[in-house]
Amino acid sequence: MALIVGACGDEGHGTASNAELGVLGYAQFQWRCTGNGDLACEPEFESTLPRHVALGARFDLDFELAERVPDSLREGSLVLASPVGMRASSFDYETTAPGLVTLIALTADGAVVDFARFEIREVVELEIVHDCERLYETDDDGREVSLCGQAVEATQPMGAMLSVRVEPFGGDDPLMGDLDYTWESRTPDRVSVSVEGRGGNEAQLELLRPGAAEIVVRTGSVEQVLSLEIEAGPVDASGPRRTRPGSETDGDPSDSSDTETTTETDAGSEGSGSTGGIQ
């Protein structure tokens, strides 16, 4: 089971700069997002090669040989250490079973240059958080702040537009790879949901009327509910922000008390919390 390197270009909604040297340091592996449901292509995660991948997720990977590797070895391919746990096609990989997976970078004559390891985990929980295009933005006071990945405050003002995204978790780690999500407003008269593309992990919420509102996001058999209280009066919609480390206006850590999430996991009618597999 071998794949020719460089079969996939940049796709998806991220910049996909997740590149990292392999275990031996002879090749640099590059993660590629294959759709718009991959957390790895969000600004907070794109600086490192993912290690934990969601079961049922899709991604692409290629590699470049490090400078010190002789030119005569430059052509190469990727092979899976084990076909169990991952399916490879000519344009992407798809995880099919939990466990350890290793991708081995080979030279044209079959010698091992380097390898990268991944752990595939079931999605057991989803979190809905603030989305962003850039990790840090400048606020009105000139501070570099970020809402990326921060919990969405329960109380929001009517008329606000919220950019949110969903993050899949398995154990304590966020899981990477492209998954298909469905978004739904349980109170469409109070909040509308619009998703760019099909199955994406990002959504725009428009808060239309005062009152309690709920948004649900699902992947496989796991779902998460975001409960909001939409108020008619003026409310500070900025929510919790983190400032860039080293900034002279670093936030007070005690402010994090405001970041309590208002989402709750609905593990389905069985209440087991298990995904039952995302195929």
């Binding site: 084990s82 290793t102 030279t107 390898f115």
Partner: protein
């Protein structure tokens, strides 16, 4: 002993000594085993004398050092060292770009053997166990 006979004997002695040295230099090396040293791999991977353990889906990179018999020249490195798996469906082995380094990867749970040959001569066999590892 005339001078001619003396020169002839001297040449014979010199040639005998030269042939002895040349023969020793060309003596075919005899290997009794190979020693494995783990270079990299999964934390669960292990190398023991004559056996290796690799998790399914994991890898183990080893340095392979042939050990010659006591009366044989040492391994020089220009010999043709090869490792072959008896069960590629269980464990695969490939050379690495680093000299005398080999990478074993666990494909399926089970047992296999790596046959080591040097210049076509079987030198050693290494047992490989591939097991599922819970993390």
């Amino acid at each position: 002993m005339n001078i001619r006979m003396h020169i002839r004997m001297h040449i014979r002695t010199w040639m005998a000594a030269w042939l002895t040295v040349a023969a020793a230099g060309c003596q075919e090396a005899q290997y009794q085993a190979v020693k494995l040293r783990m270079i990299a791999g999964d934390v669960e991977a292990q190398v023991e004398r004559g056996a290796v353990f690799v998790p399914r889906g994991g890898v183990l990179m080893v340095d392979v050092v042939p050990e010659s018999t006591s009366d044989s020249p040492d391994y020089k490195g220009w010999e043709m060292l090869e490792l072959d798996s008896t069960q590629p469906g269980v464990a695969q082995v490939r050379p690495a770009i680093v000299r005398d380094a080999w990478v074993v990867n666990g494909v399926q749970v089970g047992s296999a053997r790596l046959d080591v040959t040097i210049d076509g001569q079987h030198v050693d066999s290494i047992d490989v166990d591939v097991e599922e590892v819970d993390r």
